[in-house]
């Protein structure tokens, strides 16, 4: 892995022995039992970290586990940030966060899924857990902040976040404050008061200062702890303490600068040089310091600084790794830059060499970039790229992409294509195209010409895989553009040229081909491509992809009219999640929605409702399709219960959240709504939809509009068609049937045949109607279809009964209704005959007044009346 975790970041700094115990602050913190967030927010040098480490003892005494993470600016990569958070949890409580980490590392899962899983794990934790994020101010990434806000919002009762930061993080602090879920410690709280200053200066540092001197120091430093520490170091061993104190008390100089200067001046020259030279390092250990200073004795130097309390902080128990206190490091770096502006370049270059030799490429790259040695950084980055991609460190790749100058990238095609992943993730597609184009130009050259033009490649294996990688990015771009043909072309090329061991590339290509075939309505090919893709994904353990593709395959089975197989696949998907053991995964909710839809079609309302309830409990684990699909299925259930108004309201919601997440939009919500309007007898609304979609019986047919064209036919048949219209309808139905047959789209075939039966019936061709219906039934019955028929109205029911009994009454001059009243509407109608007013009817039926009004409106429409009295009369005429 390109970025082995740096264990020192998870190390809880041990409290200093000569510490001033912050009793008043610990008391504040210990009242924070209900707080989700403890925020210690103050400038550098205010003792934030020290306060938290001092308080942790008390927390641990209460049985809480503490996860610690010291942040640095690399953690702006969300993948890396959360990896460290999870690793810190595992250090605190073995096994905690393991499922989320598996998901993050192996499954290519989005951050939100990882966090949802983490929340679940925290929820099941057996003890209180505190996660400390030290120095959160280094995080600027909005993605990380969003993730933290999400985690805070969903944090279980027994978990809390403890944050130290130099600036308030962009989290919903006001809301937490209002709910009493936030405990804040700020600069004013952290400043040493006179008592604490005395305890520190005379107690811990044994300086024997007078009360007046202490008061002067406290006033001049305003209780700023770093300044008091520097003052104490400056005063150690000094004869004339009072004179020194008086000297800087009457002075306007920036106090830390002034005192750090004093402290530095009092060091031997060798120590002074060591401090300045090693200040370029974020972390230090003996051998690293030796490489950077070009001297020996780094380890001893660090230990000596540690003993003297000279602003080094040990980062582990063995005292191998250290860092400078951040404030002091800045002072040192500024001095180094002032004294020898060219020095940092060479120091960073040496640090880069050490890190490359010691297996930390990302640190090596960082220091090479800081040294301005782009060629070196580029070579290191190129070699690290495959591991970076596997580790999903898109943000780091993106950062590199911005840091490398164009002329460095231009002559390095492998690096250039590697950086493309960063641009893809950032949505900068024009740059993606440009980079791919440049790389291709290099590939077209002969090896001699490449050399002559100065091409640089350090990783030949990646160069060999480059054509395949380029095609894969092209296929991805084409998919985003909605260009199905180009997606197929590029994905096929990936399969033709990608090396056998590029399993992710090949499996992804098969998935793209499956998606393209699905969008074109070629369901058999789509199914077999997905089958191959899943086999590959299984091999490399990308469970998130496996689940997503399992949903697609089950959806395809539904479209093929193979409900039983689809049902089995959704169930297998749920089993896969259960076996994975990481708790629910993204897509789990969708599997339940898929099952609910199948049960709804079979008119198993109870079973469907149960799966919807389960889906709802897991809605955090829904894909982007989930919001609309769950609503659409529920709408179908409402309709089956006769609640037309409820159905429409849900469909309207579904339309607002419509997102098929790249799956073909084959059953658009608008068409479902139009069909419901037909059922209500509201042909006017349905017609409006037809106009809006610009549909006609002469349209060229495509799979993505198939459902809409069937809807068009249903509307036309129900709108008192004349002979000419019926001919047009029949012609369209013939074409629809031929297309659906050719694509093995069983679900569509069943529906088209049923509608065809209605069309024949309307033209008086009862025998043909029964033939069509017989064929539909033969396909539908073994799979358990029910609603597809009942949805088409009462006349179809009559025909089906006719089919069953062998006696079909010819179509009467329907005195009755195009569409029958639902059970619920009949209930309302019954009460309309009474003396009850609207509100009483609502109470009687335990529904809202709004629902009663909707039903009433629907009844009026179906009966073709405008008032309650007319409705009652018309119902009598019809013999209800």
């Amino acid at each position: 892995m390109a970025n082995p975790l740096v264990a020192t970041k998870l190390y809880i700094p041990s409290p200093r022995p000569n510490l001033v115990v912050r009793r008043r602050l610990h008391e504040r913190l210990s009242t924070a039992a209900d707080a989700k967030l403890v925020l210690v927010s103050a400038p550098a040098g205010f003792g934030k970290t020290t306060l938290v480490t001092g308080w942790l003892g008390a927390l641990a005494d209460d049985g809480a586990a503490v996860a610690w993470l010291s942040l640095d600016d690399r953690d702006n990569d969300p993948g890396l940030f959360w990896l460290y958070v999870l690793a810190s949890l595992q250090v605190a409580v073995p096994g905690l966060g393991a499922a989320a980490r598996t998901l993050l590392e192996s499954a290519n899962a989005p951050t939100e899924d990882v966090l949802t899983t983490l929340v679940n794990e925290l929820h099941n934790a057996k003890q209180d857990v505190a996660v400390v994020l030290d120095d959160l101010h280094v995080i600027e990434s909005k993605d990380v902040h969003d993730g933290l806000a999400y985690l805070l919002e969903n944090l279980p009762k027994r978990a809390r976040l403890v944050i130290t930061s130099r600036s308030d993080p962009p989290l919903p602090l006001a809301r937490l404050r209002a709910r009493g879920e936030l405990v804040e410690i700020r600069a004013a709280d952290l400043r040493f008061n006179a008592e604490e200053a005395a305890e520190y200066l005379n107690g811990a540092m044994a300086l024997e200062l007078t009360a007046a001197d202490i008061a002067t120091l406290e006033t001049r430093t305003e209780g700023w702890i770093a300044a008091l520490q520097l003052a104490a170091l400056s005063l150690q061993g000094r004869e004339e303490a009072a004179t020194f104190i008086a000297g800087f008390a009457g002075d306007d100089r920036f106090i830390v600068d002034y005192l750090a200067g004093e402290v530095l001046q009092r060091q031997p020259e060798s120590v002074r040089r060591f401090l300045l030279q090693t200040s370029v390092l974020g972390r230090m250990r003996g051998s690293l310091c030796d490489t950077v200073t070009g001297a020996t004795g780094g380890k001893a130097a660090l230990e000596s600084l540690d003993r003297q309390n000279l602003f080094v902080i040990p980062l582990d128990d063995r005292r191998e790794w250290y860092r400078y206190h951040h404030l002091f490091a800045d002072v040192l770096r500024a001095r180094l830059l002032d004294e020898d502006p060219d020095a940092p370049v060479e120091l960073h270059r040496r640090a880069s060499i050490w890190y490359a030799d010691n297996g930390e490429p990302s640190e090596a790259i960082r220091h090479a970039l800081a040294a301005g040695d782009f060629a070196r950084a580029a070579a290191l980055a190129e070699l690290a790229m495959p591991a970076m991609r596997r580790g999903r460190q898109d943000a780091t790749i993106r950062e590199w992409a911005q840091l490398f100058p164009a002329d460095i990238v231009r002559i390095r095609p492998v690096l250039a294509v590697g950086l493309v992943g960063g641009f893809m993730a950032a949505g900068e597609f024009e740059r993606v195209e440009a980079q791919l184009h440049e790389a291709e130009k290099w590939l077209a050259l002969t090896p001699e010409d490449r050399d002559a033009a100065g091409m640089i490649v350090v990783d030949d294996a990646q160069l060999r895989a480059l054509p395949g990688a380029i095609e894969m990015y092209r296929a991805g771009l084409a998919l985003l553009r909605g260009d199905s043909a180009a997606t197929v072309t590029h994905a096929r090329r990936v399969l033709a040229i990608a090396p056998d061991d590029d399993e992710l590339g090949r499996a992804s290509a098969h998935a793209l081909l499956g998606l393209a075939a699905w969008s074109e309505g070629d369901l058999d090919s789509a199914f077999s491509e997905y089958t191959r893709s899943i086999a590959g994904m299984r091999h490399i353990g990308h469970i998130a992809d496996i689940l997503g593709e399992s949903i697609a395959m089950a959806d395809i089975r539904v479209a093929q009219g193979r409900l039983r197989d689809a049902q089995r696949r959704y169930e297998q998907g749920l089993q896969l999640v259960a076996d994975h053991g990481a708790g629910p995964l993204r897509g789990t909710a969708d599997m339940h929605v898929g099952l609910a839809e199948i049960l709804r079609e079979r008119d198993d309302r109870e079973g469907a409702a149960e799966h919807l309830r389960r889906a709802q409990r897991l809605e955090l684990f829904g894909t982007r399709q989930y919001p609309y699909r769950s609503r659409a299925v529920l709408a179908g259930l409402r309709l089956a219960e006769g609640d037309v108004a409820g159905c429409l309201a849900l469909l309207e919601e579904a339309e607002r959240v419509y997102d098929t997440d790249f799956s073909p939009a084959v059953r658009p919500v608008g068409a479902r709504r139009a069909r419901t309007h037909v059922l209500m007898g509201d042909i006017h609304e349905a017609r409006a939809w037809v106009r809006e979609r610009g549909l006609s019986t002469d349209d060229e047919l495509r799979y993505v509009t198939e459902f809409e064209h069937i809807t068009l036919v249903i509307i036309l048949i129900n709108d008192q068609p004349r002979e000419r219209e019926l001919r047009q309808v029949s012609a369209l139905l013939d074409r629809l049937l031929a297309a659906a047959d050719a694509g093995s789209r069983g679900s569509s075939v069943i529906e088209i045949l049923a509608v065809q039966a209605l069309a024949f019936d309307a033209r008086g061709e009862t025998a043909s109607a029964l033939d069509a219906l017989r064929r539909a039934t033969a396909l539908a019955e073994p799979e358990g279809y029910v609603r597809v028929f009942t949805f088409l109205g009462s006349r179809l029911q009559e025909l089906r009964e006719g089919l069953a009994t062998g006696v079909a009454r010819p179509r009467s001059q329907q005195a009755g209704l195009v569409d029958p009243l639902s059970e619920r509407e009949l209930d309302v109608l019954r009460l309309l005959r009474s003396e009850l007013g609207g509100p009483e009817i609502a109470r009687e039926l335990t529904v809202s007044l709004h629902t009663v009004r909707s039903h009433t409106k629907s009844i009026y429409t179906k009966l073709g009346v405008n008032s309650r009295r007319e409705a009652v009369r018309r119902a009598d005429e019809l013999g209800f």
Partner: protein, 81 residues
């Protein structure tokens, strides 16, 4: 990165940042060559061309990181206008 890397097509703006305390002029290099002037009233004025908002925030972050109390940030004028 200093101003000359950016080129003349960017409107480069002068800023004046006032902080509490006298900051030693040796910090000029740390602040990418901005000038540091100590004022009579015990404050320091950091002045110079700052190419854009990101760079300005970079300077403010550096000030935050060394714990210098910030008093004001003022935009002076656009260059070449």
């Amino acid at each position: 990165m200093s101003a000359h890397h950016i080129g003349s097509y960017v409107a480069i703006v002068q800023y004046e940042i006032r902080i509490t305390g006298h900051l030693n002029p040796r910090w000029a290099a740390w602040f990418d060559g901005l000038s540091l002037t100590r004022a009579e009233d015990g404050t320091t004025v950091i002045r110079g061309q700052i190419v854009d908002q990101a760079a300005l925030h970079g300077v403010l972050k550096k000030l935050r990181d060394i714990g210098v109390p910030l008093i004001s940030v003022t935009q002076l004028r656009s260059e070449g206008e």
